[in-house]
């Protein structure tokens, strides 16, 4: 273990962080009146996420619209759906994976924003790259490069699986794309002369982004709402279900994967985009 340094500046920094930390933790131990953070279930009634889980958001909003009483009583008087795996068909949202249904259906717009955040960050990095000399890995070993050639297809496959199966099992476009990018990372790290044309990747990536926005606008055209699900949802839990979400997740996976790969390439080789 190398030596660590500890001086007064860091001491003050720690005090500042400590005050911030105490302040951030203090609401957890708040004993005053009013609503506090608590995981107890009786609070679940007025949480939005309850309806996400029950897949009855439309019912809930219809209920609020119809009932003329107090807003809270309207919220509480919503009946509960029975959502059954492999039985419920054409639910308001298709994926069996609850997280996916939130990420790509209830809050799909946030996801669009997040891929834009990633896009703009990589763009900013690309703008800053002014062409540094490449720093290849020294002493690459045969075992490493041979092993990598064996491993990379599997990693890619896992990545593709993660985003294609995202509507059923944990995972989705983001992790899938990240896993694909780690495959490219492995290629870069093990074989020193590995490189690719970033323009192709960028074309794929921006095309994927364009298609995502176009699909969202198609929702606006067909169902009068941006990102509305205009393809059939199928039966809950089937492989061929919730088609729009599968398409968008695959596009996101491709987009994120190529994006991160280009970013890694730029950082690793120090080359500009070509």
């Amino acid at each position: 273990m190398r030596e660590t340094s500890f001086n007064t500046g860091k001491f003050f920094a720690l005090i500042i962080v400590a005050v911030l930390g105490i302040f951030m933790i203090s609401p957890f131990f708040d004993t005053g009146s009013g609503k506090k953070i608590s995981p107890r279930l009786e609070n679940l009634k007025d949480r939005v996420s309850l309806h996400y889980g029950l897949k009855n958001v439309n019912d809930a909003s219809k209920n609020i619209e119809e009932c003329q009483g107090d807003y809270y009583t309207c919220r509480e008087g919503v009946k509960c759906n029975n959502v059954i795996y492999k039985e419920t068909a054409d639910a308001e949202t298709g994926p069996a994976n609850l997280v996916t249904s939130i990420v790509l259906d209830y809050r799909a717009f946030d996801t669009l924003g997040e891929i834009t955040v990633l896009f703009i960050s990589i763009l900013g990095v690309a703008l800053l790259m002014t062409g540094f000399p490449a720093l290849p890995v020294k002493n690459e070993s045969m075992i490493q490069s041979a092993g990598a050639k064996f491993l990379v297809p599997i990693i890619m496959l896992v990545g593709i699986y993660i985003f294609l199966h995202g509507h059923l099992t944990p995972g989705g476009g983001f992790p899938g794309g990240a896993v694909i990018a780690t495959g490219f990372l492995l290629m870069f790290m093990t074989s020193g002369d590995y490189n690719f044309r970033s323009r192709r990747f960028k074309t794929v990536e921006t095309a994927a982004g364009t298609i995502i926005v176009a699909l969202a606008i198609a929702g606006l055209i067909f169902k009068d709402s941006f990102f509305a699900n205009f393809l059939p949802n199928g039966r809950l839990g089937d492989l061929f279900s919730s088609f729009l979400i599968v398409i968008i997740y695959s596009l996101i996976g491709i987009k994120v994967g190529s994006e991160l790969s280009v970013g890694l390439r730029n950082l690793y080789t120090g080359e500009k985009d070509d």
């Binding site: 660590t4 992790p175 896993v179």
Partner: protein, 81 residues
Amino acid sequence: MLLLIMFIFLFILIFLSALFAVLAKDLLFCVISLGVMSLATSIVFFILNAPDVAITEASVGAALTTAIYVFGVRRTEREEK
């Protein structure tokens, strides 16, 4: 019980690796300890029944971010002044 012990162990790991990342003079050590922190965090996520977040944290936090930091450190000096 086992879960609790594991939790405590992971939290201590997260805390120590974060502290080490702040205090260490060697930037590569900082980066690696941040990677360790991410990995431990992803295990915590997994235990807390959030496999989606766990996968993302593992691939992005532990692999990609660490790699990016390493690339960055490689282009500057390794020792903090």
